[in-house]
């Protein structure tokens, strides 16, 4: 296996605060990689660095062995990076279909309508294609974000808490979908608080705490790593 995404000693400083302090991690091709950690650990900041919304203070990000540090956000989607947002960023006044269609058109695929239909079908949103996105219930809205990201034909898909607000059945379906994406050759980096989902679908997990990677390994290794447990539960008093 080779790494699709490599993050090398990435640090981000907000004023006097180090949001990330020298993060190193790899995301293997065709894997589902989990990124977990307590609140304020720096997970969303790392996502923002990877898709160019924020420049790292130091360090580099490599996609397929190519440095992408200076590449502006809007060009990274053409390089194969797609993402969803923890706080929904849907085009709330467009229909579900148009949300995905815009993404397909921006990605300059040859037949955007067909691509949009395909993604909507994949995420099971066909019945709601004409609904205005702002009126969707949470579960469907999360799925729409995924469909929209997929319409850009990403190689690397960054998912920021896709299961928050989903019920148990929807979460299970999401897990199945993630496996499906993996078999389609899409690499997934997943930030999620639902540990049962993370532990079930991930091949590899990185744990972030206070801007550092404190552990990396398989779900089983992570669940029994004492430093991870300490990071979550706090030091014994």
């Amino acid at each position: 296996m080779t790494a699709l995404l490599e993050v090398r000693s990435v640090a981000v400083r907000f004023g006097g605060v180090m949001a990330l302090s020298g993060v190193d991690l790899d995301v293997q091709k065709d894997s589902i990689t989990g990124l977990i950690g307590p609140n304020g650990a720096g997970k969303t900041t790392l996502f923002n660095v990877i898709c160019g919304i924020r420049q790292p203070t130091t360090g580099v990000v490599l996609l397929d062995n190519e440095e992408i540090n200076g590449v502006p956000t809007q060009k990274r989607s053409a390089m194969g990076i797609g993402r969803t947002f923890q706080r929904l960023e849907l085009f709330t006044t467009l229909s579900v279909f148009d949300n995905v269609l815009v993404a397909a058109e921006l990605a300059r695929v040859s037949n955007p309508h067909a691509v949009a239909r395909e993604q909507i079908e994949l995420l099971g949103l066909t019945d709601r294609a004409d609904t205005i996105a702002g009126e969707l219930p949470t579960g469907s809205a999360r799925l729409l974000e995924v469909a929209r990201a997929l319409a850009g034909r990403p190689r690397l898909l960054l998912l920021d808490e896709p299961a928050s607000g989903l019920d148990d059945v929807e979460t299970q379906q999401l897990g199945v979908l993630l496996q499906q994406l993996k078999s389609l050759g899409i690499t997934v980096l997943l930030v999620e608080h639902d540990m049962s989902l993370i532990m079930k679908v991930c091949d590899q997990i990185h744990v972030l705490d206070l801007g550092n990677v404190i552990a990396s390994g398989t779900p089983d290794q992570i669940q029994h790593d004492p430093s991870v447990i300490d990071a979550y539960l706090g030091a014994v008093r």
Partner: protein, 238 residues
């Protein structure tokens, strides 16, 4: 101590959502007089939302909020504050561009003058007296937390609610602060403590509520919360 005093804070059948995202499902929590309750759970469990609802910063979509037996669902946050509900939100709870003295003055109201507040605050945390003219934003993290505690306590609250007080603080400072919290509870104030770091707070809590996914998973005596329950809530271990 648990279960003896009368209920001070009762959240009854609370459901809540942000726009379309529902974050709390039928949550019931009761904090009694003089009791310290730890509200635990992983990120995204809905702890902070519980606090927002209890302090009236947010309205529940269903259910009711009772303070000392009165139904105060839908009251304004400022009204609750005047009724003796003291909330210290996540992130220190100070006004960084106001001086220490001005921060304390924010608690002043009819029948409670600035000088009285200062007297009480400085008696509890003498260090604040030395820094009274300093901007609160320039204090150390621990001192900022002391300032917000001092201000809250000067109002003689019946209920004190603390959100993630320990975040970003050294363990020794956290230990100090929680000692103060224990002392406050001994004076008869009910305390609701939200903590991600469960072990830190279980030592001082009488009762505990463990949440995940917006549901209450455990509610009972703090001693009955064991590592296994926590690990499974936090890390999904079986």
């Amino acid at each position: 101590m648990s279960g003896i005093g009368e209920p001070i804070l009762e959240l009854k059948n609370i459901s809540a959502s942000y726009d379309a995202i529902s974050v709390l499902h039928d949550v019931n929590i009761t904090v009694r007089r003089g009791e310290v309750m730890a509200l635990l759970g992983p990120n995204g469990a809905g702890k902070s939302t519980v606090l927002k609802i209890a302090s009236a910063l947010m309205r529940p979509t269903q259910g009711s909020v009772h303070i000392a037996g009165h139904d105060l669902t839908g009251a304004a946050a400022s009204e609750l504050a005047r009724l003796g509900v003291c909330t210290i939100p996540e992130g220190r709870g100070i006004f960084p561009n106001l001086t220490v003295r001005e921060n304390l003055e924010m608690a002043a109201r009819k029948g409670l003058s600035v000088s009285v507040i200062q007297e009480r605050a400085f008696a509890r945390f003498p260090i604040l007296a030395e820094r009274r003219t300093q901007l609160a934003g320039t204090l150390s993290g621990g001192q900022q937390q002391m300032l917000s505690l001092a201000r809250g306590l000067a109002t003689d609250p019946v209920l004190l609610m603390l959100d993630e007080m320990s975040m970003g603080l050294a363990p020794i400072v956290v230990a100090d602060l929680y000692e103060q919290v224990q002392a406050i509870a001994a004076e008869g104030v009910s305390v609701l403590v939200i903590e991600q770091f469960a072990r830190t707070v279980l030592g001082i809590a009488d009762t505990a509520v463990v949440m995940s996914h917006g549901h209450v998973r455990f509610s009972g005596n703090a001693r009955d919360v064991d590592e296994a329950t926590l690990s499974s809530a936090y890390l999904g271990t079986k």
